[in-house]
Protein backbone atom coordinates (compact mmCIF):
# COMPACT_ATOMS: atom_id res chain seq x y z
CA UNK A 1 0.00 0.00 0.00
CA UNK A 2 2.86 2.31 1.00
CA UNK A 3 4.78 1.44 -2.18
CA UNK A 4 1.71 2.14 -4.29
CA UNK A 5 1.30 5.48 -2.57
CA UNK A 6 4.94 6.32 -3.22
CA UNK A 7 4.57 5.58 -6.94
CA UNK A 8 1.40 7.63 -7.12
CA UNK A 9 3.26 10.51 -5.45
CA UNK A 10 6.11 10.22 -7.98
CA UNK A 11 3.62 10.15 -10.82
CA UNK A 12 2.02 13.37 -9.68
CA UNK A 13 5.21 15.10 -8.46
CA UNK A 14 5.16 17.69 -11.22
CA UNK A 15 1.49 18.46 -10.76
CA UNK A 16 1.95 18.80 -6.99
CA UNK A 17 4.97 21.05 -7.57
CA UNK A 18 3.01 23.31 -9.97
CA UNK A 19 0.14 23.60 -7.50
CA UNK A 20 2.54 24.34 -4.62
CA UNK A 21 4.39 26.97 -6.66
CA UNK A 22 1.18 28.73 -7.67
CA UNK A 23 -0.10 28.51 -4.11
CA UNK A 24 3.12 30.10 -2.84
CA UNK A 25 2.59 32.92 -5.36
CA UNK A 26 -0.92 33.42 -3.99
CA UNK A 27 0.45 33.42 -0.43
CA UNK A 28 2.95 36.12 -1.45
CA UNK A 29 0.07 38.15 -2.93
CA UNK A 30 -1.89 37.77 0.29
CA UNK A 31 1.14 38.81 2.39
CA UNK A 32 1.56 41.89 0.17
CA UNK A 33 -2.10 42.75 0.57
CA UNK A 34 -1.78 42.54 4.35
CA UNK A 35 1.49 44.54 4.21
CA UNK A 36 3.38 42.05 6.37
CA UNK A 37 6.76 43.18 7.70
CA UNK A 38 8.65 40.11 6.39
CA UNK A 39 7.74 40.66 2.76
CA UNK A 40 8.46 44.38 3.06
CA UNK A 41 11.96 43.63 4.41
CA UNK A 42 12.71 41.16 1.60
CA UNK A 43 11.39 43.66 -0.98
CA UNK A 44 13.57 46.41 0.46
CA UNK A 45 16.61 44.11 0.49
CA UNK A 46 16.17 43.09 -3.15
CA UNK A 47 15.55 46.70 -4.17
CA UNK A 48 18.79 47.71 -2.48
CA UNK A 49 20.64 45.07 -4.50
CA UNK A 50 19.06 45.88 -7.88
CA UNK A 51 18.62 49.66 -7.73
CA UNK A 52 22.32 50.67 -7.88
CA UNK A 53 22.55 48.85 -11.22
CA UNK A 54 19.36 50.57 -12.31
CA UNK A 55 20.85 53.92 -11.33
CA UNK A 56 24.06 53.16 -13.23
CA UNK A 57 22.07 52.08 -16.31
CA UNK A 58 19.97 55.26 -16.20
CA UNK A 59 23.13 57.32 -15.90
CA UNK A 60 24.69 55.56 -18.91
CA UNK A 61 21.53 55.93 -21.00
CA UNK A 62 21.19 59.58 -20.06
CA UNK A 63 24.85 60.18 -20.89
CA UNK A 64 24.58 58.53 -24.29
CA UNK A 65 21.29 60.26 -25.07
CA UNK A 66 22.68 63.55 -23.76
CA UNK A 67 25.77 63.25 -25.95
CA UNK A 68 23.66 62.73 -29.04
CA UNK A 69 21.18 65.42 -28.16
CA UNK A 70 23.68 68.03 -27.03
CA UNK A 71 26.66 67.60 -29.30
CA UNK A 72 25.70 65.68 -32.37
CA UNK A 73 22.21 66.80 -33.35
CA UNK A 74 21.43 70.15 -31.85
CA UNK A 75 24.37 71.91 -30.33
CA UNK A 76 22.70 74.84 -28.64
CA UNK A 77 19.05 74.54 -29.51
CA UNK A 78 18.33 71.64 -27.18
CA UNK A 79 19.91 73.45 -24.23
CA UNK A 80 17.95 76.61 -24.96
CA UNK A 81 14.74 74.64 -25.39
CA UNK A 82 15.19 72.94 -22.04
CA UNK A 83 15.91 76.25 -20.38
CA UNK A 84 12.80 77.81 -21.89
CA UNK A 85 10.65 74.82 -20.94
CA UNK A 86 11.95 75.09 -17.39
CA UNK A 87 11.14 78.78 -17.37
CA UNK A 88 7.62 78.13 -18.68
CA UNK A 89 7.09 75.47 -16.00
CA UNK A 90 8.29 77.92 -13.34
CA UNK A 91 6.01 80.65 -14.66
CA UNK A 92 3.07 78.24 -14.82
CA UNK A 93 3.74 77.23 -11.25
CA UNK A 94 3.97 80.89 -10.21
CA UNK A 95 0.77 81.66 -12.07
CA UNK A 96 -0.93 78.74 -10.38
CA UNK A 97 0.25 79.92 -6.98
CA UNK A 98 -0.96 83.45 -7.73
CA UNK A 99 -4.42 82.20 -8.68
CA UNK A 100 -4.62 80.17 -5.54
CA UNK A 101 -3.46 83.12 -3.44
CA UNK A 102 -6.15 85.34 -4.95
CA UNK A 103 -8.88 82.83 -4.19
CA UNK A 104 -7.50 82.31 -0.72
CA UNK A 105 -7.47 86.05 -0.10
CA UNK A 106 -11.18 86.14 -0.74
CA UNK A 107 -11.62 83.75 2.09
CA UNK A 108 -9.51 85.50 4.71
CA UNK A 109 -9.89 82.80 7.28
CA UNK A 110 -8.00 80.34 5.08
CA UNK A 111 -5.12 82.63 4.14
CA UNK A 112 -2.72 81.64 6.87
CA UNK A 113 -3.39 77.92 6.48
CA UNK A 114 -2.88 78.15 2.74
CA UNK A 115 0.57 79.73 3.12
CA UNK A 116 1.62 77.14 5.63
CA UNK A 117 0.48 74.35 3.40
CA UNK A 118 2.25 75.70 0.35
CA UNK A 119 5.66 75.83 1.97
CA UNK A 120 6.28 72.30 3.21
CA UNK A 121 9.77 70.86 3.51
CA UNK A 122 10.69 68.97 0.39
CA UNK A 123 13.46 66.63 -0.71
CA UNK A 124 14.56 66.39 -4.32
CA UNK A 125 15.04 62.97 -5.92
CA UNK A 126 16.14 61.62 -9.25
CA UNK A 127 14.08 59.16 -11.28
CA UNK A 128 16.25 56.08 -11.84
CA UNK A 129 13.75 53.67 -13.32
CA UNK A 130 10.21 53.09 -14.47
CA UNK A 131 7.66 50.33 -14.13
CA UNK A 132 8.87 47.15 -15.87
CA UNK A 133 5.35 46.40 -17.03
CA UNK A 134 3.22 48.75 -19.07
CA UNK A 135 0.06 47.85 -17.14
CA UNK A 136 1.05 49.71 -14.03
CA UNK A 137 2.44 53.22 -13.63
CA UNK A 138 5.26 53.73 -11.17
CA UNK A 139 8.78 55.16 -10.98
CA UNK A 140 11.82 54.28 -8.88
CA UNK A 141 13.62 57.20 -7.18
CA UNK A 142 17.03 57.43 -5.55
CA UNK A 143 15.81 58.51 -2.11
CA UNK A 144 14.64 56.13 0.60
CA UNK A 145 14.06 55.59 4.30
CA UNK A 146 17.52 56.90 5.22
CA UNK A 147 16.56 60.24 3.65
CA UNK A 148 13.34 60.33 5.66
CA UNK A 149 11.09 59.03 2.89
CA UNK A 150 8.07 57.09 4.17
CA UNK A 151 5.16 55.25 2.56
CA UNK A 152 2.30 57.47 1.48
CA UNK A 153 4.37 60.67 1.18
CA UNK A 154 3.36 62.99 -1.64
CA UNK A 155 5.59 63.34 -4.69
CA UNK A 156 5.31 66.47 -6.83
CA UNK A 157 7.09 68.44 -9.56
CA UNK A 158 6.95 72.17 -10.42
CA UNK A 159 4.15 71.37 -12.90
CA UNK A 160 1.96 69.55 -10.36
CA UNK A 161 1.20 66.35 -8.52
CA UNK A 162 3.01 63.14 -9.53
CA UNK A 163 1.96 60.50 -7.01
CA UNK A 164 2.62 58.88 -3.66
CA UNK A 165 5.43 56.74 -2.23
CA UNK A 166 4.37 53.08 -2.49
CA UNK A 167 7.38 51.02 -1.36
CA UNK A 168 10.55 52.05 0.42
CA UNK A 169 14.05 50.62 0.76
CA UNK A 170 16.90 52.26 2.75
CA UNK A 171 18.15 54.26 -0.25
CA UNK A 172 15.41 53.86 -2.87
CA UNK A 173 11.64 54.09 -3.17
CA UNK A 174 8.90 53.24 -5.65
CA UNK A 175 6.38 55.99 -6.38
CA UNK A 176 2.85 55.14 -7.55
CA UNK A 177 1.87 57.66 -10.22
CA UNK A 178 -1.56 59.32 -10.21
CA UNK A 179 -2.25 57.70 -13.58
CA UNK A 180 -2.12 54.18 -12.09
CA UNK A 181 -5.38 52.28 -11.56
CA UNK A 182 -4.54 51.90 -7.85
CA UNK A 183 -4.09 55.62 -7.25
CA UNK A 184 -6.77 57.81 -5.66
CA UNK A 185 -6.29 61.34 -4.31
CA UNK A 186 -8.63 63.88 -2.78
CA UNK A 187 -9.09 66.92 -5.02
CA UNK A 188 -11.38 69.84 -5.85
CA UNK A 189 -12.24 71.86 -8.92
CA UNK A 190 -10.42 75.17 -8.54
CA UNK A 191 -13.19 77.36 -9.98
CA UNK A 192 -16.22 75.90 -8.23
CA UNK A 193 -14.50 74.24 -5.22
CA UNK A 194 -16.41 71.02 -5.99
CA UNK A 195 -14.82 68.04 -4.23
CA UNK A 196 -13.92 64.85 -6.09
CA UNK A 197 -11.52 61.91 -6.11
CA UNK A 198 -8.95 61.64 -8.92
CA UNK A 199 -8.32 58.04 -9.96
CA UNK A 200 -5.80 56.77 -12.49
CA UNK A 201 -6.92 55.40 -15.85
CA UNK A 202 -3.77 53.58 -16.88
CA UNK A 203 -2.33 55.74 -19.60
CA UNK A 204 -1.57 59.44 -19.23
CA UNK A 205 -5.16 60.06 -18.12
CA UNK A 206 -7.16 60.21 -14.91
CA UNK A 207 -10.81 60.14 -13.98
CA UNK A 208 -12.66 62.47 -11.65
CA UNK A 209 -15.02 60.37 -9.50
CA UNK A 210 -17.55 61.02 -6.75
CA UNK A 211 -18.21 64.45 -8.23
CA UNK A 212 -21.76 65.46 -7.34
CA UNK A 213 -24.10 65.93 -10.29
CA UNK A 214 -25.23 69.24 -8.81
CA UNK A 215 -21.67 70.62 -8.91
CA UNK A 216 -20.84 72.75 -11.90
CA UNK A 217 -17.77 71.62 -13.89
CA UNK A 218 -16.72 72.42 -17.43
CA UNK A 219 -14.05 71.40 -19.91
CA UNK A 220 -10.86 73.33 -19.19
CA UNK A 221 -11.44 73.60 -15.44
CA UNK A 222 -8.34 73.17 -13.34
CA UNK A 223 -8.33 70.48 -10.65
CA UNK A 224 -6.19 71.00 -7.55
CA UNK A 225 -5.52 68.98 -4.40
CA UNK A 226 -8.02 69.59 -1.60
CA UNK A 227 -5.54 68.98 1.21
CA UNK A 228 -8.05 66.70 2.92
CA UNK A 229 -6.16 63.47 2.30
CA UNK A 230 -3.41 64.55 4.67
CA UNK A 231 -0.51 63.80 2.31
CA UNK A 232 -0.85 66.57 -0.26
CA UNK A 233 -0.88 70.27 0.61
CA UNK A 234 -3.91 72.17 -0.58
CA UNK A 235 -3.89 73.86 -3.98
CA UNK A 236 -1.34 71.80 -5.92
CA UNK A 237 -2.28 71.46 -9.57
CA UNK A 238 -3.41 67.97 -10.57
CA UNK A 239 -4.64 68.52 -14.11
CA UNK A 240 -7.20 69.93 -16.48
CA UNK A 241 -10.67 68.58 -17.24
CA UNK A 242 -10.92 67.34 -20.84
CA UNK A 243 -14.36 65.76 -20.86
CA UNK A 244 -17.45 65.82 -18.63
CA UNK A 245 -19.85 62.88 -18.57
CA UNK A 246 -23.33 63.61 -17.17
CA UNK A 247 -25.02 60.71 -18.94
CA UNK A 248 -27.06 58.23 -17.00
CA UNK A 249 -28.73 58.59 -13.63
CA UNK A 250 -27.35 58.73 -10.14
CA UNK A 251 -25.87 61.13 -7.66
CA UNK A 252 -22.50 61.52 -9.35
CA UNK A 253 -21.12 62.74 -12.66
CA UNK A 254 -17.75 61.77 -14.12
CA UNK A 255 -15.02 63.75 -15.82
CA UNK A 256 -11.82 62.88 -17.63
CA UNK A 257 -8.68 64.64 -16.55
CA UNK A 258 -5.33 65.20 -18.27
CA UNK A 259 -2.57 65.41 -15.63
CA UNK A 260 -0.56 68.64 -15.61
CA UNK A 261 2.66 66.62 -15.44
CA UNK A 262 3.85 64.55 -18.39
CA UNK A 263 4.53 61.29 -16.56
CA UNK A 264 6.56 59.87 -19.44
CA UNK A 265 9.23 62.56 -19.19
CA UNK A 266 9.92 62.68 -15.47
CA UNK A 267 13.53 63.15 -14.48
CA UNK A 268 13.54 64.90 -11.12
CA UNK A 269 10.81 64.98 -8.48
CA UNK A 270 10.20 66.43 -5.02
CA UNK A 271 8.97 64.49 -2.02
CA UNK A 272 6.92 66.42 0.52
CA UNK A 273 8.22 65.42 3.93
CA UNK A 274 5.57 67.10 6.06
CA UNK A 275 1.97 66.11 5.58
CA UNK A 276 -0.38 69.08 5.62
CA UNK A 277 -3.37 67.98 7.66
CA UNK A 278 -4.12 64.74 9.46
CA UNK A 279 -7.79 64.90 8.52
CA UNK A 280 -9.37 62.55 6.01
CA UNK A 281 -12.29 63.20 3.73
CA UNK A 282 -15.36 60.97 4.00
CA UNK A 283 -15.01 60.09 0.30
CA UNK A 284 -11.50 58.82 0.82
CA UNK A 285 -12.53 56.91 3.92
CA UNK A 286 -15.23 55.20 1.88
CA UNK A 287 -12.78 54.55 -0.94
CA UNK A 288 -10.07 53.19 1.35
CA UNK A 289 -12.61 50.97 3.05
CA UNK A 290 -13.77 49.72 -0.32
CA UNK A 291 -10.23 48.95 -1.44
CA UNK A 292 -9.36 47.14 1.81
CA UNK A 293 -12.52 45.08 1.48
CA UNK A 294 -11.52 44.03 -2.00
Amino acid sequence: MRIRGFFLFRRYTLLIFIILLLLSALVLMSLRAKQRKGIEVSDALLMEVCSPFQKAATFMIDTVQGTFQHYVFLVNLEKENRMLKKKIAELQEKDQQRKEMRLANERLRELLQFREKNSPSMVGAEVIGRDPSSWFKSITIDKGERDGVKKGMAVISPAGVIGQVLKTAPHYAVVLLITDYNSAIDTMVERTRAKAIVEGKGENRCQLKYLLRADEVAVGDIVVTSGLGGNFPKGLMVGEIKQVDKKGHGVFQFAELIPSVDMTRLEEVFIIMEPSLPTQSPEEKVRKGKKTKK
Binding site: L28, V174, L177
Partner: protein, 174 residues
Protein backbone atom coordinates in the same frame (compact mmCIF):
# COMPACT_ATOMS: atom_id res chain seq x y z
CA UNK B 1 24.17 26.15 -9.07
CA UNK B 2 25.46 27.83 -12.23
CA UNK B 3 22.20 26.91 -13.97
CA UNK B 4 20.27 28.86 -11.34
CA UNK B 5 22.49 31.85 -10.66
CA UNK B 6 23.29 32.66 -14.30
CA UNK B 7 19.67 32.89 -15.55
CA UNK B 8 18.76 34.83 -12.42
CA UNK B 9 21.51 37.39 -13.06
CA UNK B 10 20.49 37.60 -16.72
CA UNK B 11 16.91 38.13 -15.54
CA UNK B 12 18.03 41.01 -13.30
CA UNK B 13 19.96 42.49 -16.23
CA UNK B 14 16.85 42.32 -18.44
CA UNK B 15 14.73 43.82 -15.69
CA UNK B 16 17.15 46.75 -15.43
CA UNK B 17 17.07 47.18 -19.22
CA UNK B 18 13.28 47.06 -19.16
CA UNK B 19 12.97 49.69 -16.43
CA UNK B 20 15.57 52.02 -17.93
CA UNK B 21 16.45 51.69 -21.61
CA UNK B 22 13.13 50.34 -22.90
CA UNK B 23 11.20 52.86 -20.78
CA UNK B 24 12.98 55.71 -22.53
CA UNK B 25 11.34 54.74 -25.84
CA UNK B 26 8.90 57.42 -27.00
CA UNK B 27 6.04 55.01 -27.79
CA UNK B 28 5.22 53.11 -24.62
CA UNK B 29 2.56 50.91 -26.19
CA UNK B 30 5.04 49.06 -28.35
CA UNK B 31 7.53 48.41 -25.58
CA UNK B 32 8.41 44.69 -25.77
CA UNK B 33 8.48 42.64 -22.58
CA UNK B 34 11.97 41.13 -22.76
CA UNK B 35 11.60 39.46 -19.38
CA UNK B 36 8.59 37.56 -20.73
CA UNK B 37 10.62 36.48 -23.77
CA UNK B 38 13.34 35.25 -21.42
CA UNK B 39 10.76 33.31 -19.38
CA UNK B 40 9.48 31.70 -22.60
CA UNK B 41 13.04 30.78 -23.55
CA UNK B 42 13.50 29.18 -20.10
CA UNK B 43 10.30 27.20 -20.76
CA UNK B 44 11.88 25.81 -23.92
CA UNK B 45 15.18 24.84 -22.33
CA UNK B 46 14.84 24.33 -18.61
CA UNK B 47 13.24 21.45 -16.68
CA UNK B 48 9.85 22.28 -15.12
CA UNK B 49 10.92 22.44 -11.46
CA UNK B 50 14.04 24.58 -11.86
CA UNK B 51 12.44 26.70 -14.60
CA UNK B 52 9.26 27.14 -12.56
CA UNK B 53 11.23 28.47 -9.59
CA UNK B 54 13.16 30.81 -11.91
CA UNK B 55 9.89 32.05 -13.46
CA UNK B 56 8.51 32.73 -9.98
CA UNK B 57 11.66 34.70 -9.12
CA UNK B 58 11.40 36.67 -12.39
CA UNK B 59 7.81 37.55 -11.53
CA UNK B 60 8.82 38.56 -8.01
CA UNK B 61 11.51 40.86 -9.42
CA UNK B 62 8.98 42.40 -11.82
CA UNK B 63 6.62 43.10 -8.93
CA UNK B 64 9.38 44.67 -6.90
CA UNK B 65 9.74 47.60 -9.27
CA UNK B 66 6.14 47.68 -10.37
CA UNK B 67 3.27 49.81 -9.17
CA UNK B 68 0.99 46.80 -8.73
CA UNK B 69 0.32 46.47 -5.05
CA UNK B 70 -0.52 42.79 -4.81
CA UNK B 71 2.20 41.29 -7.00
CA UNK B 72 0.41 39.77 -9.96
CA UNK B 73 3.54 38.82 -11.87
CA UNK B 74 4.68 36.43 -9.11
CA UNK B 75 1.54 34.47 -9.98
CA UNK B 76 1.29 35.02 -13.73
CA UNK B 77 4.91 34.31 -14.71
CA UNK B 78 5.03 30.70 -13.41
CA UNK B 79 1.61 30.14 -14.96
CA UNK B 80 2.85 31.37 -18.34
CA UNK B 81 6.01 29.28 -17.91
CA UNK B 82 4.07 26.04 -17.33
CA UNK B 83 1.63 26.83 -20.14
CA UNK B 84 4.58 27.42 -22.49
CA UNK B 85 6.20 24.16 -21.30
CA UNK B 86 2.98 22.32 -22.04
CA UNK B 87 2.54 23.79 -25.50
CA UNK B 88 6.16 23.97 -26.64
CA UNK B 89 5.95 20.50 -28.21
CA UNK B 90 2.98 21.66 -30.26
CA UNK B 91 4.86 24.62 -31.74
CA UNK B 92 7.56 24.23 -34.34
CA UNK B 93 9.88 26.76 -32.77
CA UNK B 94 12.25 27.39 -35.66
CA UNK B 95 11.85 30.42 -37.86
CA UNK B 96 10.37 33.86 -37.42
CA UNK B 97 6.60 33.18 -37.85
CA UNK B 98 6.35 30.37 -35.30
CA UNK B 99 8.51 32.13 -32.70
CA UNK B 100 6.52 35.33 -33.23
CA UNK B 101 3.23 33.48 -32.82
CA UNK B 102 4.52 31.66 -29.72
CA UNK B 103 5.49 34.91 -27.93
CA UNK B 104 2.46 36.81 -29.21
CA UNK B 105 0.08 34.13 -27.86
CA UNK B 106 1.71 34.00 -24.45
CA UNK B 107 1.94 37.79 -24.29
CA UNK B 108 -1.82 37.90 -24.82
CA UNK B 109 -2.36 35.10 -22.31
CA UNK B 110 -0.43 36.92 -19.59
CA UNK B 111 -2.26 40.14 -20.40
CA UNK B 112 -5.61 38.40 -20.02
CA UNK B 113 -4.49 36.89 -16.67
CA UNK B 114 -3.44 40.35 -15.42
CA UNK B 115 -6.70 41.90 -16.63
CA UNK B 116 -8.71 39.20 -14.89
CA UNK B 117 -6.76 39.63 -11.65
CA UNK B 118 -7.18 43.41 -11.81
CA UNK B 119 -10.88 43.04 -12.45
CA UNK B 120 -11.52 40.51 -9.70
CA UNK B 121 -9.09 41.54 -6.96
CA UNK B 122 -9.04 45.30 -7.40
CA UNK B 123 -12.50 45.85 -8.78
CA UNK B 124 -11.29 47.84 -11.78
CA UNK B 125 -14.36 48.32 -14.06
CA UNK B 126 -14.38 45.78 -16.88
CA UNK B 127 -15.40 48.41 -19.46
CA UNK B 128 -12.11 50.26 -19.06
CA UNK B 129 -10.13 47.04 -19.03
CA UNK B 130 -11.80 45.77 -22.21
CA UNK B 131 -10.65 48.86 -24.11
CA UNK B 132 -7.10 48.19 -22.91
CA UNK B 133 -7.16 44.89 -24.76
CA UNK B 134 -7.19 46.61 -28.15
CA UNK B 135 -5.40 49.84 -27.41
CA UNK B 136 -2.62 48.39 -25.38
CA UNK B 137 -2.42 44.62 -25.01
CA UNK B 138 -2.44 43.80 -28.73
CA UNK B 139 0.30 46.32 -29.70
CA UNK B 140 2.49 45.27 -26.78
CA UNK B 141 2.10 41.54 -27.48
CA UNK B 142 2.80 42.22 -31.15
CA UNK B 143 6.03 44.10 -30.37
CA UNK B 144 7.06 41.32 -27.95
CA UNK B 145 6.42 38.79 -30.71
CA UNK B 146 8.45 40.74 -33.26
CA UNK B 147 11.50 40.98 -30.98
CA UNK B 148 11.33 37.33 -29.86
CA UNK B 149 13.09 35.64 -32.84
CA UNK B 150 16.04 38.00 -32.54
CA UNK B 151 16.34 37.51 -28.80
CA UNK B 152 15.93 33.72 -29.10
CA UNK B 153 18.96 33.68 -31.42
CA UNK B 154 20.94 35.73 -28.91
CA UNK B 155 19.84 33.52 -26.01
CA UNK B 156 20.82 30.39 -27.94
CA UNK B 157 24.29 31.78 -28.64
CA UNK B 158 24.62 32.94 -25.04
CA UNK B 159 23.49 29.66 -23.49
CA UNK B 160 25.77 27.58 -25.70
CA UNK B 161 28.66 29.80 -24.62
CA UNK B 162 27.74 29.79 -20.94
CA UNK B 163 26.85 26.15 -20.49
CA UNK B 164 29.25 24.79 -23.11
CA UNK B 165 26.56 22.75 -24.82
CA UNK B 166 26.68 23.95 -28.40
CA UNK B 167 24.71 20.95 -29.60
CA UNK B 168 21.83 21.67 -27.22
CA UNK B 169 19.58 24.29 -28.70
CA UNK B 170 16.03 25.14 -29.35
CA UNK B 171 15.83 22.76 -32.30
CA UNK B 172 16.80 19.72 -30.26
CA UNK B 173 14.62 20.62 -27.30
CA UNK B 174 11.54 21.72 -29.19
Amino acid sequence: MKRVITPLLIGILFLILQTTWLSSFPIQRVRPDILLIFTLYLACLFPPILGGILALLMGYLMDLFSGNILGYYTFSRPLVFFAAQFFKERFYLEGFPSQFLFAFTFGLLEGVIILMLMGTLQGVPSGGLFSLFFTFLLPQSFSTGVVTPLLFILFQKGSSLLFRQPEEGLKEKA
